[in-house]
């Protein structure tokens, strides 16, 4: 039987690097933290734009059922994705949103809401496209499902050659933002 199964959904619009973000978290869990991590993705015909989502199950034993119907952790990087996927989040779950792109309704059912201006931070780093890695850093700091060293290792292993430093910087910014938020609140 599956033990300590954590279900995660990472969502946004096509082009935000949602799938790569999930891939890095999964790789960190599977190859560096030595857990089982199953990533599946659902996508429409559009390569850019449109709501897209990656589903991740992290477990200490073999993942049998591969999909995520009721995530415990939901990351929404766009309003459309938030509108579509927020109702799936379980009571008491963790909701992570892109602060400037998602206007949430008041949190209920004990849902913990955390926000990060990932796009703005990425722009400060000079490359908007690393917003997904900023989000991965934030996720690592607040979600407690993958180790921070594991994620650094997975990033180095997964991003295009020559962009490792930029991406690790993006990770640190997101990670620090999450740590501060946890320690000091908003």
């Amino acid at each position: 039987m599956e033990q300590s199964r954590t279900e995660i959904k990472i969502t946004g619009f096509g082009g935000q690097g949602v799938i790569l973000a999930a891939y890095i978290i999964g790789k960190a869990a599977a190859l560096f933290d030595k857990k089982e991590a199953t990533l599946t993705q659902s996508f429409g015909p559009e390569a850019r734009g449109g709501a897209c989502s990656a589903q991740m199950v992290i477990s200490n034993s073999k993942v049998l059922y591969p999909y995520v119907k009721r995530p415990q952790i939901l990351v929404c990087l766009s309003q459309e994705a938030y509108n579509k996927f927020e109702p799936e989040l379980i009571s008491g779950g963790l909701l992570i949103i892109e602060k400037d792109l998602v206007k949430p309704k008041p949190a209920e059912n004990g849902i913990q809401l955390l926000a990060i201006p990932a796009t703005r931070i990425a722009e400060e780093l000079g490359r908007r496209m690393v917003l997904n890695i900023v989000t991965v850093g934030f996720f690592t700091a607040v979600a407690d499902v993958v180790g921070e060293e594991a994620v650094r290792g997975a990033i180095k292993d997964s991003v295009p050659k020559g962009t490792e430093d930029l991406n690790l910087k993006a990770f640190e910014r997101g990670f620090q933002y999450g740590k501060n938020l946890r320690e000091h609140g908003e």
């Binding site: 089982e36 991590a37 990533l39 429409g44 015909p45 059922y65 591969p66 999909y67």
Partner: protein, 385 residues
């Protein structure tokens, strides 16, 4: 023989099933890939196009799936291990020349990452409804081999097994994946090359003057040649004799087609690869394959917790169907439960082999999603009533 280290990406990877399948093929020595893009199998072709120039092989994107299938047959006669991959509509287009591959006895591997059908259906979503097409899709009587992996790790190993079977039995071998497994990313461990055992091409020892291209050996499989080495063979999709020459008679048809069938049927025990757990003493046995076999496990765990003696039999080889084993189990169990993402395909085989000695219950799903394990659990409970 051992695998050539050049094609073996030894190490721990985080790969989807399509990529893992391509890596398995490269590890098995596949050095020629022809294909046409189609969701959800495209990543198999993409992986090949990226990797194969660094391992000494050829990738070509053909104009359609008929061309892809023919290109791998032609290349296989050139002495190279070959593969193509496709989904749904492309699999239908390949059928014509899968028959040619069976008739000419050409080793090759065809990957079908199944999506929801019929027709264009659900291009990006899961299905398991091409199982009978894999068996019967080309016209005429023939036998093929088909395998069905249930994880990216198994996609890697099944690809190697597929090549070994294709070479050993000189037959097109299908890897019947499904979109869920194909697009699922998990840890894949690729072993060192020296741990990968390969079945080499059955090349003849006879000199050209004595060689008959379709004279079978003891296991009913003839030995092969490589084009360009002076054997000057003829081979055809027409019914032919041991020389490969067309012979339009009922006798020639009986001799050839019966052998094509028997080389698989009579060797079925050597070919079939199934996984069994707790089938002895079980009241109900869940027979499943591909992604459904994983989802079923979640249901089996719960049924066992509820005190039901559930065994499971997983088809890694789906064709030839392990009919002997089902016949052995049928008198000992109350029921077989068969979850599959179609409205009843492999379940017909289970039912045929159970021959009324045990109930056979289908848990169907139309595709676009995997089963809810609860539905399988209900069927298990129902089956022992």
């Amino acid at each position: 023989m051992k695998a050539d280290p050049k094609g073996v990406l030894t190490g721990e990877h985080y790969l989807d099933g399509d990529f893992a399948c391509a890596e398995g093929a490269l590890a098995a020595g596949c050095r020629f890939f022809a294909g046409y893009p189609i969701t959800p199998s495209t990543e198999v072709a993409e992986r090949f196009s990226e990797r194969i120039p660094e391992v000494g092989g050829i990738f070509i994107q053909m104009e359609d799936e008929m061309a892809s299938m023919n290109a791998i047959l032609g290349a296989s006669w050139g002495g190279v291990k070959t593969m193509t991959s496709t989904s749904g509509p492309g699999f239908s287009l390949m059928m014509e020349n899968i028959g040619l591959g069976a008739m000419m006895e050409v080793p090759c591997v065809v990957v079908n990452v199944q999506r929801g059908g019929p027709s264009t259906g659900l291009p990006t979503m899961v299905g398991q409804a091409d199982m009978m097409q894999a068996r019967w899709g080309s016209h005429g009587d023939y036998e093929i081999i088909a395998l069905s992996p249930n994880s990216p790790q198994e996609c890697f190993y099944v690809a190697i097994e597929a090549f070994n079977l294709a070479e050993k039995y000189r037959v097109p071998v299908f890897i019947m994946m499904d979109e869920c497994v194909g697009h699922m990313t998990e840890k894949v461990i690729i072993p060192p090359a020296e741990e990968i055992e390969l079945y080499p091409r059955r090349l003849t020892n006879s000199p050209p003057a004595e060689y008959l291209p379709y004279m079978p050996e003891d296991d009913l499989v003839p030995s092969m040649i490589i084009a360009g080495q002076g054997y000057k063979i003829h081979t055809t999709g027409l019914t032919h004799d041991e020389r490969g020459y067309p012979v339009m008679t009922a006798e020639a048809q009986e001799k050839l087609v019966h052998r094509l069938i028997n080389k698989i049927r009579l060797n079925a025990d050597h070919i079939i690869h199934i996984e069994e757990e707790d089938t002895e003493g079980a009241e109900v046995v869940v027979v499943s394959y591909g992604i459904s076999s994983r989802v079923a496990l979640a249901a089996i765990d719960e049924a066992r917790a509820a005190g039901i003696r559930v065994g499971r039999l997983r088809l890694i080889t789906v064709w030839p169907f392990p009919e002997k084993r089902i016949r052995e189990l049928a008198p000992k169990v109350k029921a077989f439960v068969v979850p599959e993402i179609n409205y009843g395909q492999m379940v017909l085989e289970v039912e045929r082999c159970a021959a009324g000695q045990a109930k056979t219950i289908l848990v169907s799903h139309g595709g676009g999603d995997v089963h809810n394990p609860q539905d399988i659990l209900e069927a298990i409970k129902e089956s022992i009533k």
